[in-house]
């Protein structure tokens, strides 16, 4: 991947779901600042993200978050070469707040605007310097993106050329965690709740795995239904031990399918590495299993860069400049933007 000399320092905004985030990143790699204001406590009482509430919270938080992201810059605005923002996928109203804030900033400062695909940006989190001194991954790579809204396996043959190999046919992995946590009465967000409950499990009958062997696609709806069946069968006698067992069995099933399909794709395409991205990459079982089974080196960003953040948006904006990515101020949000579209 070649460096683009023109737009080296990028201010990025991310508001696709329930985190209001801004970051400044230099050369697509060095994090100058990375600020995230989480709304998770506000949404917890609803057991999910409420779109209208999320949009309003973004509006309240954006000014302070952007100021905090710019604060470490001694030269202030004059150090910024471009403004980037997420245009999709995500909640329409939430996306509008960040994209339009970015437009206003770009217009007022006479800077170029770069609109970014949120899912693609998760991949570029692995290009950010995490302080480990490790070199960033080099294509060709297989990428597994797992989050609340997305589960997909992609092939990054070269810079910017992300090709989808397979995706979920029903629920996203993170969504399956949320829904199963709901079935088990474990609370929201489901990922950490399931992981916590699973840790106290003392053995559980395995749940089914949907391999869909003819493709790289995933399916988690049947697994959710299998948990539902067990919950129904137990009825009101379902106790904490059974909950923990089901949480563990569910997590093992999801992790097993994700890891094996990713490793199979890496072998088949003879790539040099695997990148794990998205909020579900925070799951310790998934990280451990992938590291143990992968036939090639694995890159996993630190936890703070796996969940939604703006540093990855800045990185994606930087690394995607070479293929040509300038958006006019008339660009619109794209709530159902697919991978491969920008």
């Amino acid at each position: 991947m070649s460096l683009s000399p023109a737009l080296r320092t990028i201010l990025a905004l991310e508001t696709s779901c329930d985190e209001t985030a801004a970051a400044v990143v230099r050369d697509g790699r060095v994090i100058v600042s990375n600020v995230v204001a989480s709304q998770i406590d506000i949404h917890r009482r609803f057991g999910g993200v409420v779109p209208e509430v999320a949009s309003r919270q973004h509006i309240l938080a954006l000014d302070a978050v952007v100021r905090a992201a710019l604060a470490p810059l001694e030269a202030g605005w004059s150090a910024i070469d471009a403004v980037a923002a997420t245009r999709g996928p995500g909640l329409a109203g939430a996306l509008l707040t960040g994209l339009h804030a970015a437009k206003g900033l770009a217009w007022a400062r006479g800077l170029p605007l770069i609109a970014v695909n949120h899912v693609e940006a998760h991949v570029y989190a692995s290009w950010l310097d995490d302080g480990s001194g490790r070199e960033p991954p080099r294509p060709p790579l297989v990428v597994l993106i797992v989050s609340g809204g997305h589960t997909l396996l992609a092939h990054l043959a070269d810079a910017g050329a992300l090709q989808v190999l397979g995706q979920t046919r029903d629920d996203a992995a993170g969504e399956a965690f949320d829904k199963v946590a709901r079935l088990l009465g474990l609370g929201f967000p489901g990922g950490p709740a399931i992981e916590r409950a699973a840790r106290s499990a003392t053995g559980a009958a395995p749940l089914p795995r949907a391999w869909l062997r003819e493709s790289d696609d995933f399916s988690f709806s049947g697994l959710k239904t299998a948990v539902l069946h067990q919950v129904r069968a137990a009825g009101p006698t379902l106790d904490d031990a059974q909950r923990a067992g089901l949480a563990a069995a569910f997590q093992e099933s999801v992790v097993d399918v994700l890891v094996r399909k990713t490793c199979d794709a890496a072998r088949r395409l003879a790539v040099g590495g695997i990148v794990l991205a998205g909020g579900v990459a925070a799951n310790q079982r998934l990280r451990a299993a992938l590291l143990a089974q992968a036939p090639v080196p694995v890159w996993i960003p630190p936890l703070a860069l796996c969940t939604d953040n703006a540093a990855m948006i800045a990185a994606a904006a930087f690394w995607r400049q070479a293929p040509g990515l300038a958006h006019g101020l008339a660009c619109d949000v794209a709530p159902t933007l697919r991978l491969g579209q920008v």
Binding site: V50, D170, E175, D178, S221, R232, T336
Partner: protein, 156 residues
């Protein structure tokens, strides 16, 4: 009020029933899908979309609230679970779609309060067993009654 209950013994049967229903839907139809998690709502929608000729796989709309597909008619598939109440509908543009030129398939419609059109097809989805689901169709108004009558003839 017309009513019809269909029992499907497998996910494939649910898809096939959905496809037959999809084949009968027309511009402006609104379908409200009630039922708990795992009751077969999204599976039924996948069948309906296939019956309407949509080539894309139907995925859960929970994260983005509304997914759009194109078959012989535009298909709007909404999951209102994450909405707090009818006031949140303003944020997602559902009302324009309800008056639009396509078919609206709405999961967790109770979140919309009384904001759905008076005449719409209600489907109560229920879990009977590991693979069995029941779908009870009802609704008032000429269009919905014609739909249920047509479906009863097909399902017999």
């Amino acid at each position: 009020m017309a009513s019809l209950t269909i029992v499907c013994g497998s996910p494939a049967a649910t898809l096939a029933f959905g496809a037959r229903l999809g084949g009968l839907l027309a511009r402006g139809d609104v379908v409200a899908l009630h039922g708990e998690l795992g009751a077969g709502k999204t599976q039924l929608v996948a069948g309906i979309a296939a019956g309407l000729g949509a080539p894309d796989a139907v995925t859960s709309p929970t994260f983005v609230v509304i997914q759009h597909y194109q078959g012989r008619l535009p298909i709007h598939h909404a999951d209102l679970y994450r909405l707090d109440g009818p006031a949140d509908l303003d944020g997602i543009g559902l009302e324009e779609l309800l008056d639009g030129d396509g078919v609206c398939l709405i999961e967790w419609p109770e979140r919309a309060g009384d904001r759905l059109p008076a005449e719409h097809l209600v489907i109560a989805c229920a879990w009977l067993g590991p693979t069995e689901r029941s779908f009870t169709l009802r609704g008032a108004g000429q269009r919905v009654e014609r739909l249920i009558t047509a479906l009863r003839a097909v399902e017999r």
